[in-house]
Amino acid sequence: MIEFTMPSLGADMEAGTLSEWLVKAGDKVKRGDIIAVVDTQKGLIDIEVFDEGVIQKLVTKEGEKVPVGSVLALILSDKEQGNVKEEKPEISPIIEAKATEKVAVVPPARIKASPLAKKIASDQGIDLTNIKGTGEEGVITKEDVEKAIAAKEKPQEVKRAASSETIRMAIAAAMSKSNKEIPHYYLQTKIDMRNSLNWLSEANKQRSLKNRLLPVALLLKATAKALTIVPDLNAYWENGLQRKADINIGFVISLRGGGLMIPAIHDGAKKSVDEIMATLSDIIPRARVMKLRSSELSDSTITVTNLGEGSVETVFGVIYPPQVAIVGFGNISEQPWAENGMLDVRPVLSVTLAADHRATDGHIGSRFLTELNNILQNPEAI
């Protein structure tokens, strides 16, 4: 039996509230499926499963806050099911076919609930499979059922509202910590985006409307590539510098109602610009409704903030601990540009780097911005 547990979505996360189950006992799940939504300080997070099998039992009930590591559900792995099948005695083929079908469904595990809890649940039409027992040996008690009833009656909007509140608190805490603990240094440069935008324009001509690339996709790809050359910025500061193998760029998404979501774009260096664009298309709408996967929220190794949509030219970011750097992209605007003694008008992007001085020095930061520039000057090589 596989235990599906409350994931640790961040070093500072101790507990999460299971907001919603997207599966029920008996459902088949495969690696990567979103099976639950958890409310954290960072908002509602879609929790994915990393195993294949059949949900045997939902242990934690909706609305319940449990510590990281608590069992949320039990999953019967395919392998275990296989065993079940193998143990089946040989019977007539027709019956066997039926039996096999049944094995695939797997009868839901017996739910341990107190007699009183069962009675209340039955009276109130509460499904015990979705309730996590807090009694001895995980038995569902009267209190658990009553909480489930209360949760059922509570309108969903209230939860969401509470969520943005908690997001605000989380940002406040993280940023205060950052400013208090991290000695930032700031670097800024301007990049001529003519080549990049031309490349994008050409690229988009060959793409259907749906698949068109936005400049930010290229910028993220370039950032990832630059980090492969300057890996010290793709790291955590935890008892010293801990370089991260994967480059997962946390991309800041502002929520209209206030607050931020920072989903990670996994393995940015290995993804093509198109793939990064596709990832954004997937992630951004989900971030807007605060439905991100656990790994997307917990895995960022560096952050990119892109405030260039408005009229802001330059953004100096605050590092999200324990990361050691944040890259800020401003507006791409036409500016006079001098090159080889000639004055021209070019689309210019203001790029900043805020980095943790404990982890790196300006020299490293400078190298990163230089590499970024080089990459954006030769987009075709990307």
Binding site: S114, P115, K119, E136
Partner: protein, 331 residues
């Protein structure tokens, strides 16, 4: 209660006062048993009563448990109100035939013609390092028998009153008194209510769990409830008091309120009063339960002599507290 005056007295003194009052109240009442007269009672419960009431009312008997218990039954049949003291319940076994085959059956097998209004007092229980033959808690053994009424005196109030209530009965009543509590002092009202033998007594109201108990475990349970209150658990302590016939209603009402039941007694746990109540709760209050009924009873061993082993034989306050915390998942 209008009268708020209280009096401090020992369990022993409360018992004695009840006997004295019974003797004063009804000419038919007499006390009979081993060493109740000249010796003053094996545990000094009847000390001074011989001088006060004379040898006709306070009768010393030889060591003939079957003989004098049977004589008590005969006297009761013939219109007296005998109070027969069996020095300790351990010797009660010698009178078992009289109790089981005569006291309990005569009313029935005579087709309702012969009443046996006998009161049998037995000191009982563990706690004085008296080892295996003198530390029995035989309440379940006697409570098994239809036709008998079994009362357990768990508090000073009851020590003062139960005998008087028992003498109002037309059927044989066995009263269990607890040797270990004799010197215990407590305050009771100088104008105590008459004990209502029919009903179990809620010694402390609570809403989180019902601790259902009797006898020497009543005070332990009350102390445990006090400790639990400090931890935020509001335990109800139900003193069953009458072990047969059982007041099921009070038990079910309490369990319906708290949804958790812990049964505590000194008698060996298996085939005990707790076993019976547990089964009754399953049968009749199952859907009120929010956790399995739990029992704390005596360890299944003849009682050993050393104090620390003796203490370990029966549930103590700490065991009750621990068990409740575990049951309510409060840890």
């Amino acid at each position: 209660m209008n009268n708020n005056n209280t009096i401090q007295l020992t369990y022993r003194e409360a018992l004695k006062q009840s006997i004295r009052q019974a003797l004063q109240k009804d000419e038919r009442v007499f006390l009979m048993g081993e060493d109740v007269g000249r010796y003053g009672g094996a545990f000094a419960v009847s000390k001074g009563l011989l001088q006060e009431f004379g040898p006709e009312r306070i009768m010393d008997t030889p060591l003939s448990e079957s003989g004098f218990v049977g004589a008590g039954i005969g006297a009761a049949i013939a219109g007296m109100r005998p109070v027969v003291e069996v020095m300790t319940v351990n010797f009660g076994l010698l009178a078992m035939d009289q109790i089981v085959n005569n006291a309990a059956t005569l009313y029935h097998m005579s087709g309702g013609q012969v009443n046996v209004p006998l009161v049998l007092r037995m000191s009982s229980g563990i706690g004085r390092q008296l080892a295996a033959q003198h530390s029995h808690s035989w309440e379940p053994l006697f409570a098994h028998i239809p036709g008998l009424k079994i009362v357990s005196v768990g508090t000073h109030e009851d020590a003062r009153q139960v005998l008087l209530a028992a003498l109002e009965e037309s059927d044989p009543v066995i009263i269990f008194e607890y040797t270990s509590m004799l010197n215990l002092e407590s305050e009771i009202s100088t104008n105590p209510e008459t004990v209502d033998l029919v009903h179990a007594k809620i010694r402390k109201e609570g809403k989180d769990i019902s601790i259902i108990t009797y006898g020497a475990a009543v005070y332990k349970s009350l102390e445990a409830a006090l400790d639990l209150a400090a931890k935020g658990i509001d335990a109800e302590v139900v003193d069953i008091r009458m072990l047969r016939p059982l007041d099921e209603t009070t038990i079910f009402t309490s369990v319906s309120k708290t949804h958790h039941a812990l049964l505590v007694e000194d008698a060996w746990r298996s085939i005990s009063i707790s076993s019976e109540i547990s089964a009754l709760i399953m049968e009749k209050s199952f859907y009120e339960l929010d956790s399995p009924v739990q029992r704390l009873g005596g360890v299944e061993v003849p009682i050993p002599y050393p104090k620390h082993l003796e203490d370990a034989c029966v549930p103590q306050k700490e065991d009750i507290v621990k068990k409740v915390i575990k049951m309510l998942h409060h840890d």
